[in-house]
């Protein structure tokens, strides 16, 4: 079955780890939708969240091969109902002085924050589940999306 998977991995920090990881995806022809990585609670290690769409059996093979990499300590395919997922989007929207108030109101209602204000646009910082980000972007669309930067999903298992 083809579906989206959110995978979290614990990695040893080594030069080239990312290279090895992505090489496995490339060989299998599985493209990464997002990837986010940063320090974690263990020094010398990082946690990475990968979002990929693909066949379950292909993904199983990929996960096995990733686990075989020396730099990969652990890897898990997270279930939707037992994980917290968040993503940060920076969104620059066109905003004439007349539209500003209206946009800022929408941003606040949605739980976003204005990160920067300029003469004819404003930059919003918005953090939520990936699908809420889609929704937020659709609300901003009419004002003109000048630039959108997304961090990719960070996810954590919760029981």
């Amino acid at each position: 079955m083809r579906r989206q998977h959110v995978v979290t991995a614990l990695l040893e920090n080594q030069v080239g780890t990312l290279n090895r990881l992505t090489s496995v995806f490339r060989r299998k022809g599985v493209s990464l939708e997002s990837l986010s990585v940063g320090d974690c609670e263990q020094s010398g290690y990082s946690r990475m969240t990968l979002v990929v769409s693909g066949d379950d059996s292909d993904l199983n093979v990929v996960m096995g091969q990733l686990l075989k990499l020396l730099d990969v300590v652990d890897i898990q395919d997270l279930k939707v109902d037992s994980s917290v997922r968040r993503e940060l989007a920076l969104v620059r929207v066109g905003a004439s002085p007349q539209q500003r108030g209206e946009i800022i109101e929408v941003v606040h209602v949605m739980g976003g924050r204005v990160a920067h204000l300029a003469k004819d646009d404003l930059t919003v910082e918005f953090t939520d589940e990936p699908r809420k980000i889609e929704h937020f972007l659709s609300l901003m669309e009419p004002y003109g999306l000048r630039e959108v930067v997304r961090t990719g999903t960070a996810a954590m298992r919760v029981d």
Binding site: E12, G16, R20, S57, N60, L67
Partner: protein, 565 residues
Amino acid sequence: MTRTGATVVMEALARHGVDVMFGYPGGVVLPLYDEMLNWPQVKHVLVRHEQCAAHMADGYARATGKVGVCLGTSGPGATNLVTGIATAMMDSVPMVVLTGQVNTWAIGTDAFQETDIQGITIPITKHNYLVTDVDDLPRVMAEAFYLANTGRKGPVLVDIPKDVFQGKTDVDFPEATQRRGYLLPGPALQEMIDEAAELLNSAERPVVIAGAGVVWSETHKALAELAEKADVPIINSLLGLGSFDRDDPRSLGMMGMHGEAAGTIATQHADLVIGIGMRFDDRLTGKMSGFAPNARKIHFDIDPTEFGKAIPAYCRVLGDLADSLPRFVQAVKPAKHPEWWAEIRRWRESYPLIVPDDGRFLARHVVDSLNRVTKGNAVVSTDVGQHQMWAAQFYKFHQPFNWLSSGGLGTMGYGFPAAMGAQFARPDAEVWCVVGDGGFQMTLQELIVAAEHKLPVKIALINNGFLGMIRQWQEMFYDNRYSHAHMANPDYSKLAEAYGVGFIRVTKQEDMDEAVRQAEAIDGPVLVECVVQMEENVYPMVAAGAANDDLIMDPAVAPREKVKA
């Protein structure tokens, strides 16, 4: 104790019992070549092309079960090793590959002879390292040997910049190697072993397909016990040859694209297929959906990623065969399968492998002579092509570690240097290389190394004037349109003379046995040129992409073109 990086490397080789290594110098590895002079216990063989250093290390490993070591300089030296590394990776051969790198401060500047060999070899090594701090070198060298030779074995590359060879460190070798991200499977689960035994106990038409995992784990004795106790036929994958005595009546020889018909047909009729230390390679299974359609599959392997990769196994036994196989044998009930064997015997009798006796001189006669004269006890390497398949079919191995052939990558040029590596590793063994005239021309420059070291390696060169395997495919699948399959050969007698190796030319079947004996009697390398029938096909055959039911038989054996298995 403070010593240089170069000393650390030599110390590591000595500690790991490396008695021969294969390499070629260049600017950035000169510090290591200088240090080498202080280490007489580690013999260095100067090859004539780095690819052959890798194949020799591979041959050394396959002939001994030990880690093979090769060495090249940065840039072209390193890239020349690539084919040999990929060959070893595909066949899970334990190797430590050392490459020199430009000085750390020059890395990334397109310095002279710089190449990103770490990046290049990520997909073809089990793991690789670029050592930028000499203090890391003792740990990395220890890790490299450990990784190469544990779990599913494979090549590990260590890229060492010139200034790291020259730098000084007082860091000791670690007592033990441990990496959180490297887990070896523990003992196999008892419930899996019991389930596997239960499946075998209740099977009526079981077959075992044994691969190179049995060789590397040295569990050939357990395999033999299994065959006897459960009265089950043992088929070998190409690389598994030698893990089961071919003279044992329960041996059905090799299976695969050119495997013996009886084994292939038996597998298609089996109700249980037990894969042991093998990976259900596409050349063995034929079209996956048509493979052993009525059989449940049990898969024993040390690498969990092999489970379900090619075929969905019903029962998976994860673990080192050294642990799981004897336990499996113990759990299995003694059985007899007279009806199953009666059927198999019929297939064997109907579709035997034949050595014709019609006046023609064929590659099959060469291998058959070798087999008879050496009594199946020689170390045999092959190159890739028709001769490789004939060697696999007609040489009857009795022991593991005697068979060297590039299975997964199918690397032409492998056979001769691999045989040399084996001969360096086992100076007293009788080593024969069966090689095609195409593949021999890829790496024959190493003749001078054989001559220089008076290496008693014997070469059975199959001169058919063709890239035979290519010609066969063009005959069978491209309507006889030979495109660049024909090939000129040099005058091999002059070549042998130029290189200073012995030479025998054979043109008739009846002279072959004597030629083998003559070659054996010569103390040094001998090139035995066997001028055989030019156009001859390997049978049986399962065409690429076809199911194993579609066996194309030798027309001399079965009049119909295809035999439904």
